[in-house]
Symmetry: C2
Subunit: 326 residues, 2 copies
Amino acid sequence: MAVYTEVPDDELDSFAREYDIGRVVSCKGIAEGVENSNYLLQTDRGSYILTLYEKRVDPAELPFFLGLMEHLAARGLACPTPIPGRDGRALRSLCGRPAAIVSFLAGVWHARPRPEHCAALGEAMAEMHLKGADFGGRRPNSLSVAGWRPLFEAIRPRAGQIDPSLAPLVADELDLLEASWPSDLPVGLIHADLFPDNVFFLPTDAGGERVSGLIDFYFACTDILAYDLAICLNAWCFETDGAFNATKARLMLGAYRKRRPLSEPELAALPLLARGAALRFLLTRAYDWLNTPAGALVKRKDPLEYLRKLRFHQGLTGPGGYGIAP
Amino acid sequence: MAVYTEVPDDELDSFAREYDIGRVVSCKGIAEGVENSNYLLQTDRGSYILTLYEKRVDPAELPFFLGLMEHLAARGLACPTPIPGRDGRALRSLCGRPAAIVSFLAGVWHARPRPEHCAALGEAMAEMHLKGADFGGRRPNSLSVAGWRPLFEAIRPRAGQIDPSLAPLVADELDLLEASWPSDLPVGLIHADLFPDNVFFLPTDAGGERVSGLIDFYFACTDILAYDLAICLNAWCFETDGAFNATKARLMLGAYRKRRPLSEPELAALPLLARGAALRFLLTRAYDWLNTPAGALVKRKDPLEYLRKLRFHQGLTGPGGYGIAP
């Protein structure tokens, strides 16, 4: 949870006047997310999300993120769309920080997603990949294979503080992944951080649930499409006791493949991609663990959760471990 | 800022079903307040505030607080009103904690209130005092004069960590206040924590602003009515540079007196009450300062701000220092 910047009411007032969104009637800091300061802004016309971009986001990349959200929302994907000011610009400034207002999406995220949620996620992700295909922007994934070794070197001297097995395991895994990371799989626009808290659901009249929103595109990048699935195998398909739930994986992958078929090489690469995804979050969590000041207003996430996930994928002999027929 | 308890979606779902408030479409933790976990809950019928009472609130006192809010709201005061469940009970349980849903109030609070806000506050406070007069509940103020010495004894051994002058100054002040604290002033229902973040404003059509809500009644108690004003002299009438703004005080007190006249003894007691109010917040802030764990998710408030305010009131010779004619 984090709201790093308190917005004084007078600054909010003049900021809101730059938009045609009506009169502000309420503005509450949201205790979610760790990267930026988010506010739920209510006006007499509706609800919006106001985001102040804090130092972990490179301002030069904001036009990419905002442009992508605008692109996807315009194509009917349920995602926030940036609201331009009266002068047409969506990326503005508030309290000395880059800031933007995006549309508010109703929905609730599931901390413990059930199998049907994984299926709905798979379908929504495929839709996002398809709708992102003609987006003009490109952004390399700084947290893919090329970025892992520098991260590892940064944490290596103190990795033992987390777990003695961490450094040797990561060293071996990095060697293997760098040597075998695929370079010929379909590439496109991926979200790259589609954890449960970034996927909203609403009930349907039929008694089920539908995805009502994908949010937080601030890790989105151009990378292997199936890598987005690999991230979600880690983020959605393990139970809290560490057990892998193959039913969830099967439903997620199955629903995805109905909208965007996966090629044989993509399927075959899934275990390797999932190892890479596990390593990526293991490394960033370990980095944050070692570098979060004791008094910080964010909760540190356990890096070892991803060490255990990595070990699971290491033990697989093929994508059959994810519950799918090749 | 604080949300101590994360509410799992399935628990929220069954909790919300105990109410006739419609279907939950969104629930966001609010990064405000330090005592409880608050969520802005949106349903297809409207907005509500869901509060989980954390350990700093005595569950036995919750019926008083909720009953008071219901009483005041029923009399037309702009304050949250508890929403009863289908069985008529407003105080319920969620995630193993006492919990309640109250009505949502639109409005924005002012971190730097202007003189006109102080006037509006004075009027709203008088209205609250008048409407609270026939409330049946009673609750002694555990943070009034009798509670200060135990607090002081708790911080005394480490008070020097905050400021070397703190302990001797507080010791003298306590002696004086205990000896001279008034016992014959009008008593009633007071808010006792009416800081700017607990007072919401909305623009009026005439171009001004009106108080749209008083919130957070979890320090409310039965005490000297003018002590509520003394708290607000401290909380609303000092500038960020520490200077006392007599115009703000004059407007606040003047607007209050129009709705509820202040007697001669009440006016005369204001400097003493303001010293007591300053000491009360100095002591609790000092206590929190010394006892907040380094990793806590709350920002510590500076106790010395209230040491400086105390010194200001000590220098006054009468209520004329607050800009009012006796």
